[in-house]
C-alpha cells in the first residue's frame, strides 16, 4: 500500500471499503456565483468501522455527510466520486436512491427540526417500514418497540403514542437513533448527534451508538467539533479545515502525536478540566469556509504558528506519515514538536 494513498490508516485485511469518497468537490450557488464548500475530500470506511469527522464551523464536515446521503441543496455542483458497496452513489435515482437511503441512515444535531411535530412518534418511526418495506402496521410497531428497547427506552409502547413535544431532547434523540436503525442500515451518518445534550446524556448516547455499532456491524461517520469525543469513540479521526481534510489518524494517536498544526492547535486551544492555565493558546483569526480560504497556498497558513514561505507558494497535498495522513508540507520535520493540550 502506497504511503500517500487516501486509505492510510486502514487495515487491508478487512476487505474492500463499504464507503469510498474520492476527490469530492462541491460548489453551491450563492448570490449568482458558485462557492466551494468542499475541496478534494477523500475518505474510506470499512464495514463496522467508526470514523470521526472533526472540524469547526464551515469546515465542510456536515456537507460531506449530506453529499454522501445525496441531500445537497438543489443547484449543487458535485465533482468526484462516492461509491457505496461498489455502487456509484451519484448515479442513483428513484427506487435505487430510496433503497440506498434505507442502507444509509442519518441522525442530526437537532432532533426537533427533523421530526413532524403534529405526528405521533409511532407514525414517524414506522413510516419507512410501512411504505418502503410494505410491513403491516402492527408488525412495524412491534419492531419499533424492539429497537426503542435497544436504545434504552423500556416503555416503547407508550412512547409510540406520544408526540415529539412530550419527550425531552435526549429522549427524542434516542427515538431518532432507533428510527434510523429500523430499516437495517449498514452506515450511520451521525451529524453532531450529542452536541445539544448535556454530558451525562451525551455519554449515554455515545455508549448506545457504540453498542449498536458492534451489535449490527454498523459503520459510522461521527461528525463532531469535539476532538476528544471523536477520539474516544472512533477508530480513526479525520480533521477538516476550510473544506479539506487536513489530517487522518488513528484516534489513539491523534492527541499525543498529531501530524497537522491545525489538529495540534485545536487540541491546545481547549481548556483542560484537570487544570487552570494562565492563558489558553487561542488560534488567531477565525475558522474559514472553503470559499474564503486561499487556494494557491495552504488554507491554514494565515492562522498557523509554523508557517513558512514555502507554505504560501503551493497548496499542500495529503502526505502519508506514521500510518496517517497530513496536509502539511512540514509534517515530517514538525512531528513531535506539535504539542497538544497539557504540554
Amino acid at each position: 500500500m502506497s504511503a500517500a494513498a487516501p486509505t492510510a490508516g486502514l487495515d487491508e485485511a478487512h476487505g474492500p471499503p463499504l464507503l469510498k469518497v474520492t476527490g469530492l468537490t462541491v460548489k453551491l450557488p450563492v448570490d449568482g456565483t458558485r462557492r466551494a464548500v468542499l475541496r478534494d475530500v477523500s475518505l474510506e470506511l470499512r464495514p463496522g468501522e467508526a470514523l470521526g469527522l472533526v472540524g469547526e464551523s464551515g469546515s465542510g464536515k456536515s456537507m460531506t455527510a449530506r453529499a454522501i446521503d445525496r441531500l445537497l441543496p438543489p443547484g449543487a455542483q458535485v465533482d468526484g466520486m462516492i461509491t457505496f458497496d461498489g455502487q456509484n452513489v451519484g448515479a442513483l435515482s428513484g427506487a435505487q436512491l430510496r433503497a440506498y437511503r434505507l442502507q444509509v441512515a442519518m441522525v442530526f444535531q437537532d432532533p426537533r427540526a427533523h421530526v413532524n411535530p403534529v405526528r405521533r412518534i409511532g407514525d414517524f418511526m414506522t413510516e419507512a417500514l410501512r411504505t418502503n418495506r410494505d410491513l403491516p402496521a402492527d408488525e412495524a410497531r412491534h419492531r419499533a418497540i424492539t429497537v426503542l428497547g435497544q436504545v434504552g427506552i423500556e416503555d416503547g409502547d407508550r412512547r409510540l403514542r406520544q408526540y415529539p413535544h412530550e419527550l425531552s431532547g435526549g429522549m427524542l434523540q434516542r427515538v431518532m437513533i432507533a428510527a434510523a436503525l429500523l430499516t437495517g442500515p449498514r452506515l450511520l451518518l451521525a451529524d453532531e448527534p450529542t452536541t445539544a445534550l448535556d454530558v451525562i446524556t451525551q455519554s449515554e448516547m455515545v455508549a448506545i451508538l457504540d453498542d449498536l455499532r458492534r451489535d449490527y456491524g454498523l459503520a459510522m461517520l461521527f461528525i463532531t467539533h469535539d476532538l476528544e469525543l471523536a477520539a474516544a469513540i472512533c477508530d480513526r479521526t479525520a480533521v477538516m479545515y476550510a473544506g479539506q481534510i487536513v489530517e487522518v489518524r488513528s484516534s489513539a494517536r491523534l492527541h499525543d502525536d498529531p501530524l497537522h498544526p491545525y489538529t495540534a492547535a485545536l487540541a491546545a486551544a481547549r481548556p483542560d478540566i484537570a487544570m487552570t492555565v494562565g492563558r489558553l493558546r487561542a488560534i488567531p483569526g477565525r475558522p474559514l469556509s472553503a470559499f474564503e480560504a486561499p487556494t494557491g497556498e495552504c488554507a491554514f497558513a494565515p492562522r498557523c504558528a509554523h508557517v513558512q514561505d514555502a507554505c504560501r507558494s503551493t497548496p499542500p497535498p495529503l502526505i502519508g506519515l506514521a500510518g496517517g495522513l497530513s496536509r502539511c508540507i512540514r509534517a515530517h520535520e514538525l512531528r513531535g514538536r506539535l504539542e497538544a493540550a497539557g504540554a
Binding site: 469547526e56 464551523s57 434504552g152 425531552s168 431532547g169 435526549g170 445534550l197 448535556d198 454530558v199 451525562i200 446524556t201 451525551q202 455519554s203 449515554e204 455515545v206 455508549a207 448506545i208 457504540d210 453498542d211 467539533h225 469535539d226 476532538l227 476528544e228 469525543l229 477520539a231 474516544a232 469513540i233 492527541h255 499525543d256 492547535a265 485545536l266 486551544a269 481547549r270 481548556p271 483542560d272 478540566i273 484537570a274 487544570m275 487552570t276 492555565v277 492563558r279 489558553l280 493558546r281 487561542a282 488560534i283 477565525r286 475558522p287 492562522r303
Partner: protein
C-alpha cells in the same frame, strides 16, 4: 485582620422557584465575593438557568432572597430608576449570539444605547467610551459598524459582552455564553473574559455544562441537580476530588483520552 472580611457582591438565600406546582429551584443559597467568579453546573433541567434569570431579574422568586451589593432584588423593580440601578449591578450574556442582538442595530449603536440609558454624558464622551468597549472586546472599526447578520458567532458574542459591560455591572452572568462558539474562538473569548476581569474587577457567574470551561474561568463552583445544590466548594477541589455521586458522574462523563462511554445505569451502579 479586623477589616479584611471580604464583602459579598451576591448573596442568595433559600431561593425557590415553582412553575404551576413544579419546583425548578429548591432552597438554593450561594455567596459570591467581590472579584471572585462562581460556576453553576448541572444537567439540563437542573435549575441553573432559572437561578441566573432570577438573579438578573427576568423571573421573580417564589420564595427566598437575592441581595446584590447590599440591595435586595427579590421583588420586581417598581421604578425606572431602580431598574437602572439594578442594571448597573447585574448584566447577562446569553448562549445564542444569533438571537440575543437586535438584527437592525450595529455593535456601536447597541453599546451606545446602554450608555445613554445609564449616563447623562455628552456625545463625545459616549462615543469615546463606545470605542473603548469595542476595543476591549477585540472588535475592529468595521465590525463595530456592522449589523449582527454581517458578523460571525464569535464576533456577535463579543458585541453582547461589550453591551453588557457598558452598564459597568459588578456581576456579569454568562449563561452558556461560550458553549456555542467554535473551539478556536471559544479560547479567544475565554482569554478576553479573563482580561476583562483583571481590568474591571467584575465578578462572573458562569452557567455551564462544560466542566473544562468552568475550570478555566471560575474559583468557586456549585453543582445542581433537580433544583437543589448537591455539592459546592472551590472549583479545583470539586472537579479534582468530587464528593457527591452526581458530581462524580458528571466528571466521569467528560470525554478524554482513553475514555469509555457508559450507559447511565452502568455508571450509577458503579
Amino acid at each position: 485582620m479586623p477589616d479584611s472580611e471580604p464583602i459579598p457582591v451576591l448573596e442568595v438565600r433559600a431561593l425557590r422557584k415553582e412553575y404551576s406546582g413544579l419546583v425548578a429551584v429548591d432552597d438554593v443559597s450561594v455567596d459570591l465575593l467581590a472579584g471572585q467568579s462562581l460556576a453553576i453546573v448541572g444537567e439540563s433541567g437542573s435549575g441553573k438557568t432559572t437561578i441566573a434569570r432570577m438573579i438578573v431579574g427576568l423571573e421573580a422568586p417564589t420564595r427566598g432572597t437575592i441581595t446584590v451589593c447590599g440591595h435586595d432584588r427579590s421583588r420586581p423593580a417598581r421604578s425606572a430608576r431602580l431598574r437602572r440601578r439594578r442594571g448597573q449591578e447585574v448584566q447577562i450574556v446569553f448562549q445564542d449570539p444569533y438571537t440575543s442582538l437586535d438584527p437592525r442595530q450595529s455593535a456601536e449603536a447597541a453599546v451606545d444605547e446602554v450608555l445613554r440609558l445609564h449616563h447623562r454624558w455628552p456625545g463625545d464622551r459616549r462615543s469615546a467610551r463606545v470605542a473603548e468597549l469595542i476595543d476591549l472586546v477585540g472588535l475592529d472599526a468595521r465590525q463595530a459598524r456592522a449589523v449582527p447578520s454581517a458578523l460571525s458567532g464569535g464576533q456577535r458574542q463579543r458585541v453582547a459582552i461589550a453591551r453588557a459591560l457598558a452598564a459597568e455591572p459588578r456581576i456579569l452572568i454568562l449563561d452558556e455564553s461560550v458553549s456555542a462558539l467554535d473551539v478556536s474562538i471559544q479560547a479567544q473569548v475565554l482569554n478576553l473574559l479573563a482580561d476583562i476581569r483583571d481590568a474591571t474587577g467584575v465578578s462572573y457567574v458562569l452557567i455551564s455544562h462544560d466542566l473544562a470551561v468552568v475550570r478555566q474561568l471560575t474559583d468557586q463552583a456549585v453543582v445542581m441537580r433537580r433544583g437543589r445544590v448537591v455539592e459546592r466548594g472551590p472549583t479545583a477541589r470539586v472537579l479534582d476530588d468530587p464528593q457527591h455521586d452526581y458530581t462524580k458522574l458528571l466528571r466521569a462523563c467528560v470525554p478524554r483520552p482513553g475514555w469509555q462511554p457508559r450507559r447511565r445505569a452502568a455508571i450509577e451502579s458503579a
